[in-house]
Amino acid sequence: MRKYLFPLLSITLLISLILGACAPAATPTPTPVPTKAPTATPVPTKGPPDLAGETITLYHFGDLSGPYAAITAPLIHGAEDAVAAINEAGGLYGATLAIKFADTAGSIDEAVAAYDRFTGEGEHPIVMITYGSGEAEALAQRFVEDKIVNLSAGLSAQAFYVDSGYTFGLGPIYADQIAFIMEFLKENWDTYKPAGAGDDIKLAYLSWPTAFGQGALTDESQAYLADLGIEIVAQEVYDLSPTADTTAAILNAQAAGANVIWTNTLAFGTSVILNDLNALGLRDQFVVAADNWAMDLATYAFLANPAYGVGLIAPYSYLWWTDMDNPGVQYAQQLFEANERTAGEHNVGYLLLIAGVDLAMDAMKLAIDTVGYENLTGEAVHDALIALSPHQALHGALRVDYSGGSRSPREAQIRMIQGGPDAFVVIQDWTEIPDLRPGG
């Protein structure tokens, strides 16, 4: 064995180097693409192109069997119902939209595998939709290299701005969200401050120990809060579980003198804090604010008492199901009923992805108008997303603005739960949000 070992290893190394050099070409790593205004202008045509017989595939992947499955399932169904409805209505200039999904189980490794699977399937993908912060961060460089637009519901600043360029958010980055809410509270502290609280906002950041959970706490957001005179007096983490115990975290926040709690979680993560605050009899000592995913129909599924949700504040860069005067929300409601979705899916994920697919459609239409179907690439859609900004997708149900180098929405509402389920009342209408992109 020993006689053959070194020759074998040497040959193996030699072969690997030779084969490596001969391997199928991969796109060289480009530098991150600075967002720029597209230079091409729409080509005047005699009418819309007829793309009957063509197929354009959207790809999406997310956690359907891991910790974030509860929010992912409605997102997936929203995307799939929206695509089916578009096809029923004649498709994109006659082209059929297809949509393919892969489960990542919340694992970044699996997300990379899903990406490899999709990009290795013959036709080069143009648009992908991702749902998790971790996977959006991990794949950001690949999206740039392969020139694939990623519409992401994982709103991590790192995913959009670090070694990135093709990842666009369906909501504001979490750093912007915390700054937006804290700025609002600072301006309206007398109205919203808990009884007995002082004039200064003392913030406790209680969240999950994950990329998503810690996503709002960036250098930029901390500096911004410091400029506002808001002190972060406690940082605590708790388990990513609907049955997590947040008692110690809350008591530590209280001991540190906090009067505002921010949590960057899904609905069940916020619900456990609200439940424990009420169980401890401390609810009236804190304003509780959270990211956009926290205020959802699912919040009520995890609250021990629906009344515990009252007072929760969150930013919304999209409308809610109760805004039935909006034609986009009406359309989403029709799809929801036509597809006989369960009551539990009447939530933010379903609505947002119908708007997200509409946004992708608008961008692809503009790209086709600009460069023609034969030149429809991820790069063309990337440029189209910037060119159509600011944009109101699905009749204003979702507002985005990717101009000026931004890759996430630039305005949002602030809502507060003021009653039973679905009573998410606007307490501040559409307002520009702080721009806390990394290095910006």
Binding site: P24, S65, G120, A138
Partner: protein
């Protein structure tokens, strides 16, 4: 398992007695198999190459666990944490200090090995379930460390973007290219694991596993050998973690988690504890099951759109759990053991009984 050889075949010198591959056709078969793997990017789809890549990295991690749990009998649920350690060390050396990945890889493996030593210290005092708890601590402490220590360097929970390996200007930036790195490290790790298992060190490991008191009476230094087993297991994990981090190109405290550690242990049970082929069989079977669940999920949803979403959530753990349960009941010594039985039956034919 006793080595069964055809009648009339005699070893005339020690080298032949020690040989793992004994006949020319076995060399040719091995060479053809390795060649088939190395040329996979030329005839396999990208998703297949990507899958083989992942399986290769997983095998390396499970080989380390096999040395610790399979041979030495020290149960550990910290393997994924040591992968995190290796991944971070390699990422920092390459990203921040400008090292080549090829220099960073062995340093990352050694660094993880040293961390493994620390978590192996309780092994002298505690056994079984209590040792599991001690190694489980690694799965909490190391991710906590990466989230909270040196935020300017480790970038908190957001983690690090990791550069792709480059060799003489050649970037390993696609599955078709990365597989050469994975396969090369895998060949080294397989040869090393095989040789450890049949060396004096490996015999000591097995003695500790079978009866640590008897081993000590016979002169085996328990403390030293248990720590060596922890060190080797963590070295393997560190190498696998570094490979995985540069393949994924991103690393944070969630990349390798407790679930991964549990899956690695399950792979070892399915493949065969204490057998060289165990990690290979186990990793392949379980990874294919995971892949199957992933591919089957959307198909299941398309068949039963209104009711399948909940069921699909359970597919992956269900596949893994049922497989593990079936193996524990029907073949607790794993697939590798079954493979050796088949080989023995073939060699003894027509007198297989």
């Amino acid at each position: 398992m006793a080595i069964l050889r055809p009648a009339g075949e005699f070893d005339t010198h020690y080298a032949r007695d020690m040989a793992t591959i004994r006949r020319p056709w076995q060399w040719w078969l091995l060479f053809a198999f390795i060649l088939a793997l190395y040329t996979l990017p030329f005839y396999g789809s990208q998703s297949l190459v990507s899958l083989v890549n992942r399986i290769g990295i997983t095998i390396i991690a499970v080989q380390g666990l096999n040395l610790l749990t399979g041979y030495t009998g020290q149960i550990s649920l910290g393997q994924a944490a040591f992968m995190t350690t290796g991944g971070y060390i390699s990422a920092l050396l390459v990203n921040n200090l400008g090292w080549s990945f090829f220099a960073a890889l062995p340093v990352a493996a050694l660094g993880a090995g040293i961390v493994g030593l620390i978590f192996g210290l309780p092994s002298l005092r505690v056994k079984g379930f209590y040792l599991v708890m001690a190694t489980l601590a690694a799965q909490f402490i190391i991710p906590w460390f990466t989230r909270n220590a040196f935020p300017d360097v480790l970038n908190r929970a957001q983690g690090l973007n990791v550069q792709v390996p480059v060799l003489f200007g050649f970037e390993f930036n696609s599955p078709q290219r990365y597989i050469y790195l994975t396969l090369t490290v895998l060949i080294f790790s397989t040869i090393a694991a095989h040789n450890v298992s049949r060396s004096r060190l490996g015999r000591a490991f097995v003695a500790i596993r079978d009866n640590d008191l008897a081993a000590e009476v016979l002169g085996v230094n328990l403390f030293k050998h248990k720590l060596q087993a922890f060190f080797l297991a963590a070295v393997y994990a560190g190498a696998a973690g570094a490979l995985a981090a540069h393949n994924i190109r991103h690393l944070n405290s969630e990349t390798f988690n407790l679930t991964d550690s549990v899956f690695y242990m399950g792979m070892l049970v399915v493949g065969g504890l204490g057998l060289d082929l165990g990690p290979i069989f186990g990793a392949i079977i379980v990874e294919l099951l995971i892949e199957g669940a992933t591919l089957f999920g959307p198909f299941f949803i398309s068949l039963f759109p209104s009711t399948a979403a909940g069921a699909v959530q359970a597919l992956r753990p269900l596949f893994f759990g049922i497989t593990l349960m079936l193996f524990l009941i029907f073949e607790p010594r794993g697939l590798a053991h079954r493979w050796y039985l088949v080989k023995a039956a073939w060699r003894l034919r027509p007198f297989s009984h």
